[in-house]
Symmetry: C2
Subunit: 178 residues, 2 copies
């Protein structure tokens, strides 16, 4: 793995732009993955992330029980696998094997990192108050990884029904915002 | 205004890709705007959106008191105004006037639509359970507007410190996801 630890104070810059992510979990040594776009930053540091994991998803009970996951951020090169991942259930399929993705041991959680994703955020569940009503989990990022050989990661943004916007040009404007 | 009502069932496709948005509010007839990126869809229909409005923002108390706002989605053409909006406070400034933006009366809420934004979502606050701890408001979209003369809106995605990714190419992959 060519990844290095990434500062927790900079994690917001990875998730704030709204990329599609792949959430990996594991229970009894069996890993699973789901695709999701319904996430938001909630706090800078320690980084808190809110995300919706529907109770129709196989990952829902795993996340609720184990209280651990990894948020993996794919680039456009993985788009086809991202969509396939969202169209099958981990109930019947070993998604790592069927999608040809590589699980790598994380350092703080049982859930594996997806090696092919350029950034990985090891998380624990920090608040479940909105789980019953909205399937909304508050996650705390414990450890972050980043592949620094990827200089301009182009992430993808779901518009619905398999249509995605791919990151285009980067612009920089004078700002004193964080 | 060249906008038409937009189906509530399709609102998720506007916010799910994670664009920077401008939140407009109004109190006692005085409108205000803030820029934010920390939002997520929570439910398809009626559309529920969660978003963080920091209690350091002037808009926080207005939103908490009036329980109404409009989520306005700008395209890259407005990027400079979006950043300026995020770098001044409505405490001292009439942002509509200083940014040269046009407030338009909404149909369900007191807060105005920003005419220059290609889509506008009139919202009421639906749940405040996570406001004290995370400044996280659950909003219900009551009415949506869309400028159908904009065929390929290029939204912007904040990476931090005034750096943005602009929407690039659109790709479509076979999927049975919503």
């Amino acid at each position: 793995m060519t990844k290095s630890p990434f500062p927790l104070s900079k994690v917001y810059g990875l998730l704030e732009p709204g990329p599609v992510v792949m959430l990996s979990t594991a229970r009894k040594g069996r890993p699973n993955i789901m695709t999701l776009s319904w996430h938001t930053m909630l706090e800078f540091e320690p980084p808190l992330v809110g995300c919706v994991v529907s109770n129709r998803n196989y990952s829902f009970n795993i996340l609720k029980t184990t209280r651990e996951c990894v948020i993996n951020i794919p680039t456009v090169e993985l788009a086809e696998k991202v969509v396939k991942c969202g169209n099958v259930s981990g109930r019947d399929t070993d998604k790592f094997a069927s999608l040809g993705l590589t699980p790598i041991a994380a350092s703080c959680v049982q859930a594996p990192l997806i090696d092919e994703c350029y950034a990985n955020l090891e998380c624990k569940v920090a608040d479940t108050r909105l789980v019953n009503k909205y399937n909304f989990f508050v996650l705390e990022v414990l450890k972050a990884w980043f592949d620094s050989s990827i200089t301009d990661p182009r992430t993808i943004h779901h518009l619905g029904e398999g249509v995605f916007k791919v990151d285009g040009e980067t612009i920089k404007l004078p700002s004193h915002m964080k």
